[in-house]
Structure formats: structure tokens, C-alpha cells
């Protein structure tokens, strides 16, 4: 995002008006990502039961921008430059389902097999190496 424009002195571009800058918009987006509504989904009715999906959510990002002019002068145009950038990401992972029925409320956990398989693969090499070193050290000890 970069921009260069010619504007008469004293008239800032719309992007520079207070409350509309990217950093404030970023904070607004962050604020909207906080709360119970991002964790607990809409209740789903299934007969007498009500199912509530539960997830863990996270969001992160960054944004920055700057602006500058080539000087100020009475009655002459001022060159204004604006530049900036940003990035971010968000993740959601199902954690459980709440089953509410007139007889009681139960929480049914959801196991993320795919994530566990990936973590297991990453750990397997370390575990194998550790186990081998452990066994070797034990043999030497005897």
C-alpha cells in the first residue's frame, strides 16, 4: 500500500482522519475477536437436546504505517506520501461439544487426531533418539 498525492495545504487525505487509521482499525478488529461468542457456537436443537459447539480461537497480527510531506508552504501544493503494511492470521480448533438435555448437561471432548498425529511425528524422532541414548547409557552403566 503506497500512495503519493497532491493536496492543498491544510487538507489531509481521508486516510489520515482520526479514527480511520489502520492501527485503530486493527485494534477494533482485535477487540471484536475477544469474547465468549468466538468460543461457543450457536446452539443447535436436536429433538429435546441442545448441542453447543465449543472451540479454541486465536488471532494475531501486526500493522504499521507512516506518512510524510515534502515540506510546507503557504498557498502551494504539498506532496503527501503514505505507506504501510500489515499481516495476520487466525486459527480455530474444535475442543468439545456440550450436550444439554432436560436430564443433565454433559461435555463431550473432541480429540484432534490430525494435530496429534503431526505432533506425534515431530516428537517421535526426538523420543527415538532419547530412548536410544538412554538405553546406551544404561548398558554402559552396567
Amino acid at each position: 500500500m503506497s500512495e503519493e498525492m497532491q493536496r492543498p495545504e491544510g487538507q489531509p487525505p481521508e486516510e489520515m482522519t482520526p479514527g480511520a487509521d489502520p492501527v485503530t482499525l486493527f485494534f477494533d478488529a482485535m477487540t471484536s475477536a475477544i469474547g465468549v461468542n468466538t468460543v461457543f457456537g450457536e446452539p443447535v436443537k436436536a429433538g429435546e437436546r441442545v448441542l453447543i459447539p465449543v472451540a479454541e480461537t486465536s488471532m494475531g497480527g501486526g500493522v504499521g504505517y507512516g506518512r510524510g510531506t515534502d515540506g510546507e508552504g503557504e498557498g502551494r501544493a504539498v506532496r503527501v506520501g503514505i505507506g504501510g503494511g500489515g499481516g495476520g492470521g487466525a486459527t480455530t480448533r474444535a475442543v468439545a461439544v456440550i450436550v444439554a438435555e432436560p436430564g443433565g448437561v454433559t461435555v463431550r471432548p473432541i480429540v484432534d487426531v490430525g494435530k496429534l498425529a503431526l505432533a506425534g511425528l515431530a516428537n517421535a524422532v526426538g523420543l527415538w533418539k532419547g530412548a536410544m541414548t538412554f538405553a546406551k547409557a544404561m548398558r554402559k552403566r552396567r
Binding site: 482520526p18 487509521d21 492501527v23 485503530t24 486493527f26 485494534f27 482485535m30 475477544i34 469474547g35 465468549v36 461468542n37 468466538t38 468460543v39 461457543f40 446452539p43 429435546e48 441442545v50 453447543i52 465449543v54 472451540a55 479454541e56 480461537t57 486465536s58 488471532m59 494475531g60 497480527g61 501486526g62 500493522v63 504499521g64 504505517y65 475442543v95 468439545a96 456440550i98 444439554a100 432436560p102 443433565g104 448437561v105 454433559t106 461435555v107 471432548p109 473432541i110 480429540v111 484432534d112 494435530k115 496429534l116 505432533a119 506425534g120 516428537n123 526426538g126 523420543l127 533418539k129 532419547g130 530412548a131 541414548t133 538412554f134 546406551k136 547409557a137 544404561m138 554402559k140 552403566r141
Partner: protein
């Protein structure tokens, strides 16, 4: 100098950890209130030149109220527990192996 102080103040990280309750859900005679925890870490401030932020929301429990009695039902994160156990076992095994290897090495040196 004041500009520098202002810039340093602007980048001061802010951490906020809080519990929040959602709208009650009525099922028959029961009333269920979801509870979640939010962790918010921000760097920068609105209107500043830059901002970095992270928001983490996780479920904590549901409050089940039935005939005037409230019961707190925790929501376990089984996936996270297994992952932590995996990581802890790998770390423990590595540390134990390293410790034993060092002991064996120092023993061999002493024997020489």
C-alpha cells in the same frame, strides 16, 4: 527527547487476561451459562504508528443451573493435554539420557 519517550511508551506491551460469561441458554428447566477465558497481548496503541496484537480465547466451563442449584462443569481440552504430555515425555527422556551420558562419561574418566 519527548518524542523518544512517547515512542517508548507507545511500544509498551499490554497483557490482559480475563474471564467472560456468555448469554444464558435455556433448555427445559435448565439454564446454561458458558464461560471463556481471553488472553490479549498488544503492543502499540490506537492512533499510533504501528500495532502488534494477539488474542487467545479458550473455553473454561459451563455453569449449569437447575432448580436453584448451580453446578460448574469444566471443559477439558483433551488434544492439548495429550500434546503437552507428549512434549513433556520427550523433554524428560532427553534430559534423563543427557544426565546418564554425562555421568557415564565422568565415571569413565575417573576410572582412567
Amino acid at each position: 527527547m519527548s518524542e523518544l519517550v512517547r515512542s517508548i511508551r507507545a511500544v509498551r506491551p499490554r497483557l490482559h487476561i480475563g474471564l467472560a460469561r456468555g448469554e444464558p441458554i435455556v433448555v427445559g428447566e435448565r439454564e446454561i451459562v458458558p464461560v471463556a477465558r481471553s488472553v490479549v497481548l498488544t503492543l502499540g496503541r490506537p492512533g499510533g504508528p504501528f500495532a502488534i496484537g494477539f488474542v487467545w480465547n479458550r473455553p473454561v466451563a459451563v455453569l449449569d443451573t437447575w432448580r436453584g442449584q448451580t453446578r460448574r462443569i469444566p471443559i477439558p481440552d483433551v488434544t492439548r493435554r495429550i500434546m503437552l504430555a507428549l512434549a513433556a515425555s520427550a523433554l524428560l527422556l532427553t534430559l534423563a539420557a543427557r544426565h546418564l551420558r554425562r555421568r557415564a562419561k565422568s565415571k569413565r574418566r575417573a576410572e582412567r
